[in-house]
Every structure is written in C-alpha cells, then in structure tokens.
Symmetry: C2
C-alpha cells in the first residue's frame, strides 16, 4: 500500500427503476473540500498516464465500466517511497472510492467497453499543478498496464 | 422556463484515449456549496419521480446515456408558479448541467440502454428534506413521461 492512499467502500442502493451509487460526502474519509468535479472516460485497452498532482488530493469513483489504476509513490519523505498500488474498480466487483494524495504518479486503463471515472478535486483544475510523463518512464508498471 | 432553474452548457474535451467531460466547479453558476455527490441510474423506459426538495438545490449532469427531465414549479410565491420544463440531457445532443432550486417537483425517464446522472447537493442527503408523490399526481406531465 501507499501511505495516504485510501480505498473506501461505497454503498450501492438497489432500486427497481435503477440503482443509486454513493460517491462522496463532505464528511467522507479523504474529502478535502470542493473545487471541481469532472469525468474522464478511457477507451477499452487504452492507458492514460502518468500524471502527478503536486498540490491536490484526488477522489476517484468508477460508476460505469471497469478501470485498472496503477499508482507509484514518488515522495522521497514517504514511508512508502517507490511503493506501488495496482487496483481495479467497478460497480460489479469492487465499488470503492480511491483517494490519492499529491506526489503520487497515477495511470489507468479501460477494461470494459465503456469506462468512466468521476474525479472530485479540492481546487479548480490548474495545469501548473500537474506533471505528465510517458507511460514507459515507469517501466515495471507500464508492463502491467499493457499486459 | 422556471424561475431559478439553470441550464448551463458544459465542455467536452476530446482526447484520443477517452474524452473529458466537465461537471461543476466551485465558481460555476448554480454552485451552492458541497455536501454530497451521488449517482442515480434509470433503466430505459422507467420514470423516477416525483420528488421535491424543500431546502436543497440540485445540480444534475448526465455523463452516460440520455435522460428526459420534467420539472413543475410548486412555489406559490414564484413568478413561474405551475410552469413546467421538459428537457432531455445527453453528452451527444445536449450536454448541460441542470440546476434546480428547492420547491420544484422533478421526475426523469431513461431513454438509452444505460443512463446515469450525477447529483451534486449542497448538504448531505437528508430524507426529512424531500417529499415524494406518485407520477400520476401531476397528470399532464405524467402523460408526457410515459408517452
């Protein structure tokens, strides 16, 4: 595991006309305030990443499809420096919210025909606050994500 | 139109690995603070409603599928008292955020095979704050929703 990363189980409330899926409340573990919510889709077999936020915590929820996430701790001060986490989220098999503190490299791959994540950020999007590198730059996880 | 109801166009950012869909920012029109985010799915042809919030503003976004919303103004003080709004939201045809103030009856119908909405509320869910009635209780809109 990576220090500060949280996986928080979420409720699904069954309803005959269509289920309700919890996402996040202001009292939830990992909630750091609200700045922006956006959706990111990822085509089956495609991998988005690596991206690292320097300042912001992410809260990721997958309401449709199945997405595999790979995380790599790049914080030299961290007790889990250079540790990894690979986790797959979906409503059907593992409906959890993934909270990621700043300083962690993140990539993700679409596994179903249609895949979407909701990201809740404590500030509005700021391109100055993120860094991107090519997938091949973290080779041991790249091999997992394209396997 | 109904006084206080907002339809705010949202951006779709095209990406070769999967598009990004904006949802809401803390500076967005209609944002009233953050208490909870949840998803509601609605099966094709099914109608959920009527529900009215007595205190909370809703912000509804449809990232997957196509959902028809019907709104009926039940606020006696409103300049649009007893007015209606019927609007269909989807990424493909009409990607907008629907902001609904308290005191409006809301129902919605699923039009695609898979339909999901994100609701952003300024407080955590409180069942005491909502009222539900049967669809038939607002007959002229019920007929539209089941047509």
């Amino acid at each position: 595991m990576i220090d500060g990363v949280l996986l928080t189980p979420l409720s699904v409330i069954h309803h005959p006309k269509g289920d309700i899926y919890h996402a996040i409340k202001s009292s939830s573990p990992g909630y750091q305030g609200f700045g922006e919510a956006y959706f990111s889709t990822v085509t089956k077999g495609m991998v988005k990443g690596w991206k690292k936020h320097n300042r912001l915590d992410l809260n990721l929820i997958v309401p449709i499809g199945k997405i595999e996430f790979a995380l790599h701790d790049d914080r030299e001060f961290s007790s889990s420096y250079r540790n990894d986490l690979v986790v797959t989220l979906s409503i059907e098999d593992n409906y959890q919210r993934l909270t990621i503190p700043p300083g962690i490299w993140v990539a993700f791959r679409g596994l179903s025909e249609m895949n979407i994540l909701l990201n809740i950020l404590p500030e509005e999007h700021d391109p100055e606050e993120t860094i991107s590198i090519a997938l091949e730059e973290i080779p041991h996880l790249y091999h997992i994500l394209v396997s």
